[in-house]
Symmetry: C2
């Protein structure tokens, strides 16, 4: 299985955590989003992912994009611990939590969006930080509320990490990068810290990737 | 089952199509996003959906947010035609296609985002149309590429409508609203037209909702 990613991408980070939790080895292909005018924009990569975004997965002739689709597919066809709960109601809560982050936070702080804000609206770094801060704060505060409403558990929804935790940790990493204060979100912080202590999450951290740059 | 939505919301529109395809009756609660400073921001609604976004679903004590999570849950626990394919690889393609729209297009054109662009970057209507046009064009062009790469079928992925079609049609509606030219996307247009001719899609159209405003 070949995995095309970038160390800093939240979506790629999610997939790496899932690979590690399930014990899946992949061949990593670095797609540098800022080199060569963006390696994700080459015709070769666009043939794999017409969105010109990371990640993309290849296994034989099978090709798949979108991190949540990739992780659910892995969970359905590969061995290893389950990343989504068996019970339909709980599985739905896990998906909804993951989608708060994957739909309503992360796409707003993506590189192409920040580039647009700079080019078309003249946004400086302070304006970009405020923009990202608004959506990350809103999203993680919603995650905190969803955690407060569920039955208490070690991880987001249950006593093993799920797709919800897989989405949460990269978003918390990104919050730190944009200087977002998580002081009012003790549940989010506690679960992120518990996850980060696990090897599957630690090994997946951006700073532990071959393409890492400080 | 009570469904909290808004006629123009793409996310609510997706859920309505799914209800109709599966033959599920719901009690509709109108959450007007522009009245009373935004009815989605009241404490009562935030208790249902801490994101202060539509939609939200209630069935007894069970509460669920996020349209894709709602539709997958319906598909798993309710009778009616299946909205995701049985085969794991095809199901993954359907999810990825849906997520192109639900993650990387629709959240960027959401009301709260457009309000931010107006307030913080002084965006006028032309700037908002250009912003929405960029992400809708990018996203639907990616959908067109994904359709070109799959085995030909009546609908996005197969001969019955799936979650992919459910996401496509509201996005095509929204493209028209923002004046996006779909001339280069014949596959997208053909499938959207085929869907719109079905009663389940037609009845779900924003103009057929009790809270519709021209």
């Amino acid at each position: 299985m070949r995995f095309h990613g970038y160390f800093r991408s939240s979506s790629a980070y999610r997939c790496r955590i899932a690979f590690n939790l399930k014990g899946i080895e992949t061949e990593f292909v670095s797609i540098h989003l800022r080199k060569d005018g963006g390696q994700q924009k080459t015709p070769g990569y666009r043939a794999l992912n017409p969105q010109a975004l990371v990640p993309a997965l290849e296994e034989g002739d099978f090709r798949l994009t979108q991190s949540l689709a990739i992780i659910e597919w892995l969970d359905e066809v590969k061995p290893g611990p389950k990343l989504l709960p068996e019970e339909a109601g709980l599985r739905a809560q896990v998906r909804a939590f993951a989608q708060v982050i994957a739909c309503d936070v992360h796409p707003l702080q993506n590189l192409r969006v920040l580039d647009y804000l700079k080019a078309e609206f003249g946004a400086d770094q302070a304006a970009l930080d405020a923009w990202c801060g608004r959506w990350i704060t809103d999203g993680l505060a919603s995650c905190e509320a969803l955690l407060s409403a569920r039955a208490p558990s070690e991880f987001c929804f249950g006593d093993t990490p799920s797709l919800a935790d897989i989405c949460l940790v990269p978003q918390v990493f990104s919050a730190a990068r944009f200087g977002v204060d998580l002081g009012a979100m003790p549940g989010v912080r506690a679960i992120a810290a518990r996850c980060e202590a696990l090897p599957a999450f630690a090994v997946a951290h951006p700073k532990n990737q071959p393409d890492w740059e400080a």
